[in-house]
């Protein structure tokens, strides 16, 4: 215990703590915990695709249903490096469709955030808003969104508007519900501490509730991305002439199974990368919730 003014008679343990924090090198074990899972994943996937390739070659399944992994990858390569000639109904190009779907997804997610975050915060912060809105939120959140697609086609036709509406409706509820739960579960002792040290109502919201809720909101967006992607594909399968969902139905109709598998693979990649970005974001804004560090 170091003292304010060093007077005698007190057991003064002068531990300057700066020397307790020092630079260290990675041990092999730590490197393994950090990068080992990547190595395993790479090997794991390589084996998976090799087995797939061999299985397809063996001819046990009609290549129409299961093309070789290599032909999927070449369809993917071709699709991502070429653009469709003007006027072509279905060419091997994936790039334009991917861009179209991603654009719609980001617009939809953006709108879902703009609506969902304030709505969730308000529901958590205000009892009246909560009582009024919660039945609608729960009803719409539990309704399978695909059931609404025919309705929106009726209202809006096969338009981008219809597709974006479906994406927004798919993504907005996890965002609302998570933000709402975040506000509700804000630790009472943190609020008490802020009050004791003089925080006004406004400061309680902006300096305690909001930072506490931030990781919840990000978790909501993460779920929203997953749901939004489903929304994108559903909307495009039902109606439209562009996008990855459309490409799946078209390639199936034209018996172009390598292309179809390439699109499915791409969907997995897109979904995983978006979710990983939000994971990283969550760990970055809320390091205290990084429980996997244990």
């Amino acid at each position: 215990m170091s003292t304010i003014e060093d007077s005698e008679g007190v057991a003064t343990v002068d531990a300057t703590d700066s020397n307790r924090i020092e630079d260290t090198e990675f041990t092999a074990g730590e490197a393994w915990t950090l990068y080992g899972s990547w190595a395993v994943t790479v090997i794991n996937l390589t084996i998976f695709f090799c087995i797939w390739e061999l299985f397809a070659w063996s001819g046990a399944i009609n290549p129409l249903f299961l093309p070789a992994a290599s032909s999927m990858f070449s369809a993917l390569w071709e699709g991502m490096t070429t653009t469709a000639p003007p006027g072509a109904v279905i060419s091997g190009s994936i790039r334009d469709h991917l861009l179209y779907s991603l654009t719609n997804l980001s617009i939809g997610l953006g709108i879902a955030c703009v609506i969902g975050i304030p709505a969730g915060l308000l529901m958590g912060g205000n009892k009246y808003v909560e009582t009024v809105l919660s039945p609608y939120v729960w009803a719409l959140a539990s309704l399978p969104r695909i059931a609404l697609v025919p309705l929106f086609i009726l209202f809006l036709g096969f338009t981008v508007k219809m597709q974006i509406t479906i994406i927004v409706l798919s993504a907005v509820f996890p965002i609302i519900i998570n933000a709402w739960a975040g506000v509700k579960t804000t630790e009472k002792s943190l609020l008490a501490a802020a009050k004791v040290f003089g925080a006004s109502r406004r400061e309680l919201y902006f300096k305690v509730v909001l930072p506490y809720t931030l990781p919840f909101i990000i978790a909501g967006i993460q779920q929203g991305i997953g749901r939004g992607l489903i929304g994108v594909v559903i909307a495009e399968i039902f109606g439209g002439s562009k996008g990855l969902g459309y490409l799946i139905t078209r390639s199936a109709d034209t018996f172009n199974s390598p292309l179809m598998y390439a699109v499915l693979f791409l969907l997995v990649v897109v979904s995983l990368s978006l979710i990983n970005i939000t994971r990283w974001l969550e760990a970055y804004v809320a390091p205290w919730r990084r429980i996997d560090m244990l």
Partner: protein
């Protein structure tokens, strides 16, 4: 983060008046205080504290002891203005308590540190929320000084999740002391700290309070800690918490300059308080008086 950001309307409701002259003026007066909680699920209300009348003088060090769940935390929560009394009155510096104020600071039993703030930023919190007349340089200096006081130099930029339990508790202590409030409400502030450090911190606190003339209400489970620190030990009975006995401790100060535990008076006091608490703790353990 700085004083600049705080606006005049941030002033907490209970701005304390000019401090009364040191002496025996009562600073905290609770009269017939009854506090409890509504248990909404069971449509019941639980009386945590019943009819507490206690008056604490300026510069006095009062320690509350009593079995777990007897309402010690509830009492200082009421004084800090976090919970409203059902009956009775609480006056601080002659004014009715209607909410928290900058004249009272608190060390929380569960630390209550903002996990998104660094050690330094947590300790700076009182200056951020309260419109105290302290310059920016003075704030920096004080934050540094109090981090040093609780021996956390080098950990300014650490987050609470990177600290041990005892370190977190020390951050909570520094946060309560940094604004140098009239009244310090400390809820088992040394509970998570090892015996050796604990003794050092106790002696530090005694010296600190002697210098600042702060009025302290301090909760502990340790009878030794109670006697070494207190001017008066208030023993609270098990549910509903009532004052069972108030024990004056008139041992000479500073008590860390000599081996206070060897004094016959100390041993007597210890035995006396121990008996009082034991009865209550036994009842608490048997779950009587529910």
């Amino acid at each position: 983060m700085t004083l600049m950001e705080t606006t005049p309307q941030n002033v907490a409701p209970d701005q304390s008046p000019a401090p009364a002259p040191a002496g025996t003026a009562p600073v905290i007066v609770t009269e017939g205080l009854t506090v409890g909680y509504k248990l909404h699920r069971e449509r019941k209300r639980l009386t945590a504290l019943r009819d507490i009348s206690l008056s604490v003088n300026r510069g006095e060090f009062v320690v509350l002891v009593g079995p777990s769940g007897c309402g010690k935390t509830t009492y200082i929560n009421a004084i800090s203005g976090l919970v409203d009394p059902w009956e009775g009155t609480i006056e601080v510096n002659g004014r009715q308590v209607t909410g928290p104020g900058p004249d009272r600071a608190m060390v929380f039993q569960d630390y209550a540190l903002m996990p998104w703030r660094t050690v330094e930023s947590n300790i700076r919190m009182p200056f951020e929320f309260q419109n105290l007349q302290v310059s920016k340089d003075e704030i920096d200096e004080r934050v540094r000084r109090y981090i040093e006081l609780v021996d956390l130099t080098g950990f300014e930029k650490s987050y609470p999740y990177e600290l041990s339990g005892g370190m977190k508790q020390r951050v909570g202590i520094a946060r309560a002391l940094v604004s140098e409030p009239d009244i310090l409400l400390a809820d088992e502030p040394f509970a998570a700290i090892d015996a050796m450090t604990r003794e050092a911190m106790q002696s530090e606190l005694e010296r600190f309070v002697a210098k600042t003339h702060q009025t302290v209400i301090f909760i502990t489970h340790s009878i030794d800690e109670a006697i070494t620190l207190a001017d008066r030990v208030v023993v609270i009975s098990f549910r509903p918490g009532q004052i069972k006995e108030i024990v004056d401790v008139n041992l000479p100060r500073p008590r860390f300059d000599y081996d206070v535990k060897m004094l016959p008076e100390y041993v007597e006091l210890r035995d006396h308080i121990w008996r009082l608490v034991k009865d209550e703790a036994l009842q608490s353990a048997r779950g009587e008086k529910r």
